[in-house]
Amino acid sequence: MKPIIKAENVSKQYRIGAPAASYQTLRDAIAGAVRGSLRQLRRDGRPEGETIWALGGVGFEVRPGEVVGIIGSNGAGKSTLLKILSRIVEPTTGRVDLYGRVGSLLEVGTGFHPELTGRENVFLNGAMLGMKRAEVARKFDEIVAFAELEKFTDTPVKWYSSGMYTRLAFAVAAHLEPEILIVDEVLAVGDMSFQKKCLGKMGEVAGAGRTVIFVSHNMVAVQSLCNRVLWLHQGKIREEGQPSAVVSKYLRSSCSARAEQKWDDIESAPGNDQVRIRRACVRPADGTPSESIGVKTPVVMEFEYWNLAPGTLLNLSVIVSTEEGYPIFNTGSGREAVWHGKPFPAGLFRSAFYIPGDLLNDGTHRVRLMFVKDQSVVIHDTDDILVFDVEDVHEKRSGWYGKWIGAVRPRLEWETELVEPGMPALTEAAG
């Protein structure tokens, strides 16, 4: 069958950082800027400097009706690929042929203006997504009904609640009826019902024989929705094929256990000009990171980091997830006694928390670390900063070795009492 998307050797180069130049005087700076601007304009308006290849020679074909998942760690080039497919950025080399209209759920609400009414925004947004005015007019009632906003079509959207706003925006995107639908991580935003609507729309689109490109970190969703998976790794396709096979290979590679990570060179350590991580480790409460952790072991997680912005109100937020990426719990340093709520001076800090034994289930755990400023702004976010295995303790299991169900395995107190002795008094049906 003929492909609906045909990508050949698609590459994208980004220039990062400013051109290296040291200006001596203001006059030099201005002269340099003038020379520079002339030179840069000749060079496609891009500054010189270091470059990275976000995508390096990606080629694939997608057949109509396929639901293709794209997976990969952060920075593997997934978003760049989607942006190229939706024509927001231009590839540096290569070529993509699209044999159908592309619609994408990453542009939900694009161009919505708060001063305009719901009706006006539907038309504007529709035009932006490439719908003809007549088409929007035809579907208008349907869109409004889908969004459940019949009474508010002539209200400026600035008076809408965020839920109403999202519903309307999604309703427009959902009625675009593209041959190729691009879905990027919508499952990460919005509430449960919105996620359901997105997934429902995806299923409907796929069911109608249309093509879906789905990018997600949620491996469960990828496995259940897609019939083929591309695994991007460092801008290249590393593996392609059956979802379950590719996903499990991906998980195995990305979850190679790392119970401790250290960065001796502060320049290359993860972070930015506000915080830099020096070390992260997870270990038994009374042991070292090299020792194994069992389901009954109390665990300590430690993070050492430099605060580089004196006076910051800093919080750490840690999310521990299963191997598949399901969050198990989120804990923050908000209840920490000494430093919480105080401005952090510049310096090296260590924060740690304690996880009691008999809480984590066995299996691989992934740790995401976020630094939060003023309890609201995430200033740095690292996925999989630690990955560790919790091992099952077999001796108490009396013979059964199956996987224990659940994200956690708390040891809870049970009670059983004899309420009434004797056989139940079965009332003999008197006939």
Binding site: I88, L116, G209, S224, R397, K403
Partner: protein, 314 residues
């Protein structure tokens, strides 16, 4: 009372059910056969483009309705937010006219080529207001609409074009005042009036060229939006908005032609000649037209170069 540990509870077998694999991992329904025919040629081919490629002309046509919506949005939002709405469009040049009539017309006695100074300066300010607001608005338009550019594809040139076109609507509204003034001051129409449409087109194209070029430069150098108001202000004083070009050309003697190198001289002077009668300065007009064409070509070229990477940079 007896308690059992959760570990021994496992023997009761709640976990005897093997963990189900992620839903659908194993049983994949094959994709349904395609219900629609694929076109023979790709609808869209994505590849690095050369600045002069014509592929985008097709898109410009395909997205023509968006241009209309962008203009409409610009007008609607601007008028909705302002208390006086449309009245501002009329008030701005009128207030300036009042001030300049008093200070320049009555006190300094700037000559006004046979028509009342009020009419003379209003005509100039009308065209100037259009030009300056189109260039300022258009020059900032790409940066202001960055949220659109990073989210959705459409021909980017529509953004500065819509900004300029929206000001043209403002211009049309204020033009009604000029029509009223011409009647009031009993200035009869002449054959020159036929030159109005081409002159307005020329002014709009000149504004479009400036706006397109500046909007592209603004993406990379935000200095543009800082310097722009100052430059625009200066440009007004070196253009014959408040005074007739004769004042400058006479002063320059036989270097008078140099003044016409300012592309606005031909446009503003021509606009007045078309309204009030009088002779067109054909040299100045040719310079304006030639400059506009060259600027449009250069602006398009620069814009297309920047456009390729605009979503990366902005």
């Amino acid at each position: 009372m007896s308690t059992t540990s959760s570990n021994s509870a496992s023997t009761l077998g709640p976990t005897a059910v093997a963990r189900t694999p992620p839903a659908g991992a194993a049983d994949l329904t094959p994709p349904p056969s395609t219900p629609h025919e694929l076109p023979d040629k790709p609808l869209v081919t994505i590849q690095p483009r050369r600045p002069w490629s014509t592929a985008e002309l097709h898109d410009l046509w395909a997205y023509r309705e968006l241009l209309y919506f962008l203009i409409w949005r610009d007008l609607k939002v601007r008028y909705k937010q302002a208390f006086l709405g449309v009245a501002w469009v009329l008030l701005q040049p009128l207030m300036m006219t009042l001030v300049f009539t008093v200070f320049l017309g009555m006190l300094v006695r700037v000559p006004s080529e046979g028509v009342p100074y009020t009419l003379f300066v209003y005509a100039g300010l009308l065209l100037w207001t259009f030009f300056s607001s189109a260039v300022t608005g258009g020059g900032n338009s790409l940066v202001v609409n960055a949220h659109l550019i990073t989210k959705v594809y459409f021909p980017r040139v529509m953004i500065p074009a819509a900004a300029v076109a929206a000001r043209l609507v403002d211009f049309a509204v204020s033009f009604l005042i000029v029509a009223g003034m011409l009647v009031y001051y009993r200035v009869p129409p002449t054959w020159n009036t036929l030159m109005l449409p081409p002159l307005i087109v020329l002014a709009a194209l000149l504004a479009l060229g400036c706006a397109t070029l500046l909007s592209a430069l603004n993406v990379k150098y935000r200095d543009v939006s800082i310097v722009l108001p100052v430059l625009i202000q200066l440009w007004m004083y070196v253009s014959p908005v408040l005074y007739p070009p004769r004042l400058v050309t006479d002063a320059l003697g036989h270097w008078g032609w140099v003044y016409a190198l300012n592309p606005l001289v031909g446009v503003v002077d021509g606009f007045r000649a078309a309204l009030f009668g009088g002779t067109f300065d054909l040299f100045a007009l040719s310079v304006s037209a030639a400059f506009t064409l060259a600027l449009l070509a250069y602006a398009t070229y620069t814009f297309r170069r920047v456009e390729r990477s605009v979503a990366d940079v902005i």
